[in-house]
Symmetry: C2
Amino acid sequence: MVKYRTLDGTFGALSDPTRRGIIMHLNKGEASVSELASPYGISMPAISKHLKVLEEAGLIFRQKKGRVHYCRLATAPLGEVDTWLARFRRSHRRVIN
Amino acid sequence: MVKYRTLDGTFGALSDPTRRGIIMHLNKGEASVSELASPYGISMPAISKHLKVLEEAGLIFRQKKGRVHYCRLATAPLGEVDTWLARFRRSHRRVIN
DNA sequence: TTAATACTTAACCATATGGTTAAGTATAGA
DNA sequence: TCTATACTTAACCATATGGTTAAGTATTAA
């Protein structure tokens, strides 16, 4: 799994259910690390690692306000996945074939 | 990485460039294992493992004709990824917001 | 029947992943 | 200033991943 905005990184980041859950949470708006962690029965360090993976994949960015770290979703990598997927879409292939 | 048609499995399978290459190759039509292997400077067992990952993710299926194993693309899991991604699409969010 | 072809499986290796607990850092509040 | 909060980092562990070489299996061709 490579780092910094590659399809490898994005797909790799999305292959974990906790990270997909975090992404879906963030799709509703920004959230603190604690808020993101609350649905999962895992430790803060584990969440911290997941966030690092998501950040390195360019899927989230953070802003620190006081001691709270707020995370937001970056949709660009998802757009790249979408673009990659487009070539396999039925409708698209119907146009080609 | 879990097996047998899960989003985990599909995203995990797609996180490797060799496997994405294979998928793109198969998008043009069925191909033998040797044909799929030829662009990559890795051993046959390595390719065999990649194909196993793709097969367990439900992304390909095989048919044996004599000693040649032909692989074909199964688009259903890609459709599931597409469905998962849909909620993050601009146009979709424009409808919601 | 013997040898070549097209694979897969087994055994192994180094590194990555996803979790843990313990310790460290930065900010807020008493 | 001292303590609690909201994190991150470090060290560790078990298992997964992606590669290798060597060996095994099935089919075709000589």
